[in-house]
């Protein structure tokens, strides 16, 4: 069994409520931080832990905190990004639904470290029932002296507010989230200035993912050094993976970042393999915006090494043969799935969610969807595949925010690895309406590079 730090108590009945949570060692980390540590010591501990942001980009959290500008007389804000809208990702929802106090404790410690007296949880509108859970937990925390004025006699004040979004993927981008929180149209700001200098209400702001903030609690509990020992190299600690798709046991898993991808898919402890004896065709290991990889490249890297569930190993080979850890939305496709159709549904998603602020993303995402729709419905041309490649290349990197990249990468990766499936769709338009391309050679062992 891998070590669990976030979900170790998730099975306890009533852990959602303060009394049970407190009885099971809850708020011990907050007590430790408030009573025996200075804010800088907490930040130092987080830095030592080497934890990387769990929202998708994987930027070291301690480093991010240390960038926060601290001018005199200006309030600072911590914002918890709970706008979890990436297709395939549902780990934050699990945390907030079952362990709201873990998040509040994490927010308390983080706010203390950053010197923020007001903290916002920006939650996506579709999680309609979760704000109630969070607000109930916040009220309990207030009642028991963990929020409000002079918390536990430490002299530190904190208020947490929950704000619902209105259903926009783009509001998961930190500057768009801040705009939306201010009550404006949720469109990304042009950086610089970065939120660490001018964020919410033009004040220094840190925006962190739910899982990141929750993981502050075990870091304080066991110490940064101990946390850093878990996992491999720079992929320290445990990570929540939300597995879905063609799996026997889809769900949210907490993994130590030292297991292989193969183990994660096939072992009984985790996903338990693919149902009905089907074979693995492809996988998106980090949420819909990271590149899709075929089975053979998923299980082994291009160098022939076993691919591990770590930031570095998943990224091995760059975008040519690798992919990304992303937000941990692990989507598995078996041999019956059609990559073209799958790419189309992702393209449709990004078209729908583009904010329309900058031209490449606004126009390009819709164009890609239309071209893909033609290919999928048997109206494609051979030149459409190259056209798609060209469109995605002109979107990527030329937009204000990473949504453009996120829209371009899945299309690019699908064409890069599954070009023959696209060509088959074009060459056999009628057959492609009746059956799928199947597994083909996507699980064949990779050719071993000859020793030179």
């Amino acid at each position: 069994m891998g070590r669990k730090l976030l979900l170790d108590k998730a099975h306890i009945e009533g852990i959602r409520y303060y009394d049970v949570y407190r009885k099971n060692g809850g708020y011990a980390a907050a007590e430790k931080a408030l009573k025996s540590m200075s804010p800088d010591q907490v930040t130092e501990e987080v830095k030592k832990s080497g934890m990387r942001g769990r929202g998708g980009a994987g930027f070291p959290t301690g480093l991010k905190w240390s960038f926060l500008a601290k001018p005199e007389g200006v309030p600072r804000y911590l914002v918890c990004n709970a706008d979890e809208s990436e297709p395939g990702t549902f780990k934050d929802r699990y945390l907030m639904e079952f362990l709201p106090h873990l998040l509040i404790e994490g927010l308390l410690i983080s706010s203390f470290a950053l010197g923020a007296n007001t903290t916002y949880i920006y939650i996506r509108g579709e999680y309609a029932w979760i704000p109630d859970i969070l607000e109930e937990a916040i009220a309990e925390a207030h009642k028991n002296g963990w929020l409000g004025k002079n918390i536990q006699g430490s002299g530190f004040d904190l208020n947490i507010y929950v704000q619902r979004g209105a259903g926009a993927y783009i509001c998961g981008e930190e500057t768009a989230l801040i705009e939306s929180l201010e009550g404006k149209r949720g469109t990304p700001r042009i950086k610089p200035p970065f939120p660490a200098v001018k964020g919410l209400y033009q004040c220094p702001t840190v925006v962190n993912n739910v899982e990141t903030l929750a993981a502050i609690v075990p870091i304080i509990n066991i110490g940064g050094d101990e946390y850093a020992k878990i996992g491999i190299g720079k992929s320290a600690g445990t990570k929540l993976i939300s597995a879905c798709g063609n799996l026997n046991k889809p769900g949210v898993y907490e993994i130590e970042m030292n297991i292989s991808v193969e183990e994660f898919i096939y072992s009984d402890e985790y996903c338990g393999g693919i149902p009905n004896g089907k074979r693995l065709k492809a996988c998106i290991p980090g949420g819909s915006s990271v590149p899709i990889v075929p089975a053979n490249l998923l299980l082994t890297t291009a160098k022939g090494e076993k691919r591990m569930m770590t930031y570095e190993s998943l990224n091995d080979g760059g975008f040519a043969t690798g992919t990304m850890m992303g937000s941990g939305g692990f989507i598995v496709l078996d041999e019956d799935q059609c990559v073209v159709r799958h790419t189309l549904s992702l393209a449709r998603f990004y078209h729908h969610e583009s904010c329309g602020q900058c031209s490449p993303c606004r126009e390009g995402t819709g164009w890609m969807e239309k071209v893909l729709k033609n290919i999928e419905h048997g109206k494609g041309k051979m030149s459409d595949i190259d056209l798609l490649w060209d469109i995605q290349r002109k979107i990527e990197g030329n937009t204000i925010c990473p949504l453009g990249d996120a829209a371009a990468w899945p299309v690019a990766a699908a064409i890069r690895h599954f070009r023959d499936e696209f060509e088959w769709h074009v060459l056999h338009p009628e057959e492609a309406q009746r059956r799928n391309f199947g597994l083909a050679h996507y699980a064949d062992p990779l050719p071993v590079a000859a020793a030179v």
């Binding site: 904010c355 031209s359 606004r362 126009e363 390009g364 002109k394 030329n398």
Partner: protein, 368 residues
Amino acid sequence: MAEEKKLFKVKIDNITVEVEPGTTILNAARNIGGEVVPPAMCYYSKLEGSGGKCRTCLVKVTKGSEADPRPMPKLVASCRTTVMDGMEVANITSPEVLEARKGVVEFLLINHPLDCPVCDQAGECDLQDLSYEHGVSGTRYEFKRRTFEKEDIGEHIKLHMTRCILCYRCVFTADQLTNKRQHGILKRGDASEISTYMRASLDHTNFIGNVIDVCPVGALTDRTARFKNRVWFLKPVDAHRECSDPKCCGKTVLWMRGDEIFRVTARKDKYGEVEGFICDTCRFEKKEVKDWIVEGPRKISRHSVITAGHYVGVHKPQETVAKVMDGRQPKLLMDIHTVSEVNMPQVDLSQIEGPAHSTDFPKNKGVQ
């Protein structure tokens, strides 16, 4: 004595220029001028917060600064990126930039109706210039283009959303020049549109007409001048008047044909930006020469189509028949105005409401 401000040295396309700290790359390039200036469709130096959206001004930063010489990983929007000391920027010397710009032009055009033949902006359209200079001649887009209903936002302004490239300039203009902004962006992605939502009139503030001038395309046009004439048939003349509005600079360009004033606009510089904003009274209501103090013909770049037909030092063709025929006048066989039903000399095109129709030329008004 105040200490002299330290200037930043920036190299753009291997041309060095010294600018003040805080200048953007685009403005540094404008200091150099010429071909190294990146095109800008959404940036407007007189509007705070504009820029960064159209992505036509992307440039490559090959050296971040003297202190940190690392290149920037992505192409950056030059209108919103400030210079650092020792920065090196590649614009037209970078094939990557030219390729990306070509892509942006293509994206801007895929949903543009390309109705230039009937568009009032044709001839002075930033998108026309941009696609001519940086685009490709063909299109690869084979799908239906998005369209919107035309909308009247007030008595004087027509919103033709189909042509819009969503530069947000008009939103910033209304926000910063008028008392109350009442229009903005609705919806998102490629369905987003400029609108007042309730089709409300925007006429009640005296500066809303400036949205027409800042619009880089023909999405916002002057209803008092729509379909009256092509810009290249008109003569731009600098003029001014004593305007009672203190915010109005009063310096305008009159677009004339003969003694008729078809249109009044603010004076635009070579980057298509107005030199000063003018009020709606000057723009929409003063359409007679006696209202204005004319300064003289406006200088227009000779590359612009507006200069077509405007020759310097032309000699008007003289009637020569009488001279060679010993003073005898030619016999007029037919006056075209007796039979033609349109373009009667006594009807002033600029005075007609909207575009000219046959009903504007009643039979009994013709030469008897």
